[in-house]
Amino acid sequence: MSKGKKQLLATAGIFLLLALTVLICYLIFTKKDNPNLLYDDNATVGVLPGIDMDERRKELQDALDRSMIAFSINTSPVFLNGTSKGNLLIENPGNNAKLLKVNIMIDDTEEEVYASNYLKPGTYIDSVALDKVLEKGTYNATAYFSAYDEADGTYIGQTGAKITITVQN
């Protein structure tokens, strides 16, 4: 193909592309609403606030993250007898930023055998006597950790841990 023909084809191609672009722009920007329909003036362009799933999920995630607590406890505390102290080893870690209260319930009888007062973040209970005197034996129990807002004491929620209490004599 001669050089002149190539130039002619290239020029024609460019004109064709320009013409197509102009046509597409015309169709897009001159599109009119149907004059027979009455559109509501109160309508706002966009997605209804609160319906955006990602936004809603982020709000829920923030609420859940605020309720997270860390805690530690001895899974098998031992008491020499029903009135002596035992190694419960309950901890409210410093990074919790929540107050914790601990209640221990015997699983079979649902009897509460221990209730702590508030534990500040960064504190722990090493050994303590139970509030109820237990006979010699082994007891399956659940320690419930209740979380409270550190600033105003508002109740946040509760979680639990299974433990086994042993009373030796």
């Binding site: 859940l64 001895n74 899974t75 080893l89 659940t142 639990g160």
Partner: protein, 194 residues
């Protein structure tokens, strides 16, 4: 001269004898066992308590809506559970408090199958990182206001995993109402928990 030598020998012998006795006494007092000798060594063993240490939520907020196109109608946060201890643990739902009093003519379904006026909510282990489940398969359904002790997650030592709230509701259940579902998570050592 002989007497002097004899005296020196005696002094040397006495000093050697004394040093042997004092060495033996010293060895006995520190309870070291001399090589080639015999003795008693006390071995003291302490049983270290098994500490359970976890990070988990105390409150699980969620939204449910029939407008979601997926089988799962719940918008759920990622419920992170972390085992900070050196023992494997299991996470159970011990009890779920359900309050539907603000919804008229709506009841609870324990099975995940709902009629037009029912709601069912459950928990599902995360399958893909940070992605809410779209289906309801493998869901552990929460039972209303009764002891359940249902396992929802197993965590190895120092392992982290996540759950999502999932659920469905009947077509007659109003989208504008609110209700409360409060599961109590209980963590236990794998070998001793139920």
């Amino acid at each position: 001269m002989k007497k002097k030598l004899l005296f020196l020998q005696l002094v040397l012998m006495v000093s050697l004898l004394f040093s042997t006795v004092s060495y033996a006494a010293d060895a006995d007092s520190s309870r070291d066992i001399p090589i080639g000798g015999s003795g008693q060594m006390e071995m003291v063993g302490n049983i270290e308590p098994t500490i359970l240490s976890v990070t988990m939520p105390t409150f699980v907020p969620f939204n449910i809506s029939n407008s979601l196109s997926t089988q799962n109608k719940v918008i759920s946060p990622r419920i992170k559970m972390k085992n900070n201890s050196n023992i494997p643990v299991r996470i159970d739902v011990a009890y779920t408090k359900v309050d539907l009093s603000k919804l008229k003519n709506v009841s609870w379904s324990d099975t995940g199958t709902v009629n037009a006026n029912q709601i069912a909510i459950g928990l599902k282990q995360e399958e893909a990182l940070d992605e809410m489940p779209t289906s309801l398969s493998q869901t552990r359904w929460l039972k209303s206001n009764q002891q359940q002790d249902m396992n929802v997650l197993m965590l190895g030592a120092n392992q982290e995993d996540a759950l999502y709230v999932v659920g469905t509701l009947g077509q007659n259940v109003s989208d504008s109402g609110t209700f409360n579902v409060t599961p109590t998570f209980v963590v236990g050592q794998v070998s001793t928990a139920k």
